[in-house]
């Protein structure tokens, strides 16, 4: 079995490029699921991580939550949620968010904790309020590490969102699951290639975001 041959056959088949089962549609679905899950996980993980990190409290509790979150099996959670809730986005979002919150939460906490205390003290000495200290001093310094947490979460989501196809949703996992049952390796390999490429593009996006968003001073120091 020649993997490259399958890749070539999959992408050169014109019928794979249009319609509801075409590559553009499935790719768009996959990106939509992934962005939604990453957004939800960030909404949960970032504020909690920022605040606990800022005040330096709750580290133990976070570690426990993160361990529990990582321990929950994504695929099992997906099927369980599907059995309990039926068709829809929620059964897919639950495992993806559970998967993505620990890296975001813990990395954000760690990033805030690792900020050099002297500029923070200086900022307080200058009379900055807690929220200004958090957003204008700590956050810019912690940003590279926070972004790495988001990036890690994003990659895991993109790879794991493929299991959504098992409960009849779309996305790139559709090609992998359909290929399994149709014994069509072209689809499996093609789908896996698309997922891997999407993951690598996402890494590139985060790299670029780091270039733009991280202040030059922090970058040089880091």
């Amino acid at each position: 079995m020649n993997v490259l041959h399958f890749v070539n056959a999959f992408f050169s088949d014109g019928s794979h490029w249009h319609g509801y089962d075409g590559i553009p549609a499935r790719l768009a679905e996959h990106i939509r699921y992934s962005l939604l899950a990453l957004g939800l996980a960030a909404v949960v993980g970032l504020p909690v991580g920022l605040l606990t990190g800022h005040y330096g409290r709750g580290g133990n509790a976070l570690a426990l939550i993160a361990t529990a979150g990582r321990a929950l099996p994504s695929f099992g959670l997906l099927v369980l949620m599907f059995i309990l809730l039926g068709f829809g986005m929620v059964p897919v979002m639950v495992p993806l968010v559970v998967l993505a919150v620990p890296p975001i939460l813990v990395t954000t906490y760690e990033a805030m904790r690792s900020v050099d205390p002297s500029p923070v003290d200086a900022a307080r000495g200058m009379g900055m309020g807690e929220s200004r200290v958090l957003f204008q001093v700590e956050l810019p310094v912690a940003l590279p590490l926070i972004l790495s947490g988001l990036r890690s979460a994003a990659i895991q989501i993109i790879s794991t969102a493929t299991i959504a196809a098992y409960v009849s949703l779309g996305g790139l996992g559709r090609y992998i699951v359909d290929g399994l049952y149709q014994l069509d390796y072209e689809k499996v390999v093609g789908g896996a290639t698309l997922v891997a490429v999407l993951a690598l593009v996402t890494l590139g996006v985060f790299w670029a975001a780091g270039r733009f968003a991280v202040s030059p001073g922090v970058r040089r120091g880091g």
């Binding site: 039926g86 049952y181 149709q182």
Partner: protein
């Protein structure tokens, strides 16, 4: 066959007595280094522990893989069924597992050694495993198997179907007697769709011709490119649906999606107890796309003794559609274990 097993590695067995600790910091600071200087001997000893653990690991890994391979630890790994034991497989839907249990227990009753390999996947996969000898016996459906082997076949009788299959079947395989019990794939609509388009039990698949473009059809992923699926619906009935939703092989996903109107049309097995329960309407198939679907054992040629062949033929002789529907209901609605249901029926039918 599965009795050959590696023990769980003791070295890494979780010890519930150890409380949760934070993960270590990855940058051992100076503190570690200074204390290291004080404890060279201790860490050397500790390294010995690691080395022993690693050696044990290596032995475990190689030990396991060789035992798996040589003793036929898994019937699918070697590609050959191991000596003496008959491997009964099933596809990934409950009725197939139930039928495999019935065949297996009937063989056991005749003193034949049986290994089960249930829930494997779709026919696309299991046929390959039959061909390479990984499986010895597989419950099949004659017309569906024929459509898989020959898209153009349109037999008129059960006997024709068997003959046509035998003509196309891999030389290593053969069919035993078909049972009167039938379980077809079907084009079935839900109550809402039936009401909207005035479809009744007398309506045919052709009645969807005008409206198919507005309807979503659901079925197993393999339905998408099977002759007894989207391909045949298009070539035989000229139906093109709005879209196809991949669900499962007549299982709970398909049932639920049709019930919730996520799909308006679905491939539901005709023995499915939910058809009557949810008032689904199964459309007639005058052009016989879904052909015959008698339950029929597919076996490896020469892999089953005459005693075994007789046992399975005796099962087929007693298995009719009403019986199959009843047994399916016991498993899928009354939640009884398929093996218990199989044993109880064999006993009541005087086959075990």
């Amino acid at each position: 066959m599965r009795s050959v097993k590696c023990r769980t590695p003791h070295a890494v067995r979780p010890d519930p007595a150890v409380p949760y600790q934070h993960p270590p910091t990855s940058e051992p600071g100076t503190g570690i280094v200074t204390s290291y200087a004080k404890s060279t001997r201790s860490s050397t000893r500790q390294f010995g522990v690691v080395a022993v653990a690693l050696a044990a690991t290596g032995a475990l890994v190689t030990g396991c893989s060789s035992s798996d391979g040589k003793s036929g630890g898994d019937p699918l790994s070697g590609g050959k069924s191991s000596g003496g034991s008959v491997v009964v497989g099933s596809n990934n839907f409950p009725e197939s597992t139930l039928l495999a249990d019935i065949y297996g227990e009937a063989l056991k009753a005749k003193g034949i050694k049986v290994t089960y390999k249930p829930n494997i996947g779709s026919r696309e996969t299991t046929y390959g495993l039959m061909k390479n000898g990984s499986l010895t016996v597989l419950p099949e459906y004659n017309g569906s198997l024929l459509a898989y082997l020959d898209k153009k076949a349109a037999p008129k009788t059960v006997a024709d179907t068997t003959a046509a299959i035998n003509a196309k079947l891999d030389p290593a395989l053969t069919l035993l007697e078909p049972a009167p019990a039938e379980d077809k794939d079907s084009v079935t609509v839900n109550r809402e769709t039936a009401a909207k388009y005035h479809l009744t039990g007398k309506s045919t698949i052709a009645d969807l011709t005008e409206v198919a473009k507005d309807l979503v059809i659901g079925g197993s992923p393999e339905f998408q490119n099977r002759q007894q699926g989207l391909l045949g619906l298009k070539s035989v009935y000229g139906l093109e649906f709005k879209s196809f939703k991949a669900l499962d092989a007549g299982g709970p996903l398909t049932q639920a999606a049709l019930k919730k109107n996520l799909v308006q049309v679905a491939d539901i097995f005709t023995t499915d107890p939910t058809i009557s329960k949810e008032k689904f309407v199964t459309l007639q198939d005058p052009k016989n796309l879904f052909g015959f679907a008698n339950v029929q054992p597919l076996v490896g040629k020469g892999k089953l003794s005459q005693k075994g062949v007789d046992a399975l033929n005796a099962v087929s002789a007693k298995l009719d559609t009403a019986t199959l529907l009843d047994l399916d209901t016991k498993v899928q609605v009354e939640k009884q274990d398929p093996l218990d249901v199989a044993r109880a029926w064999l006993k009541s039918a005087g086959l075990a």
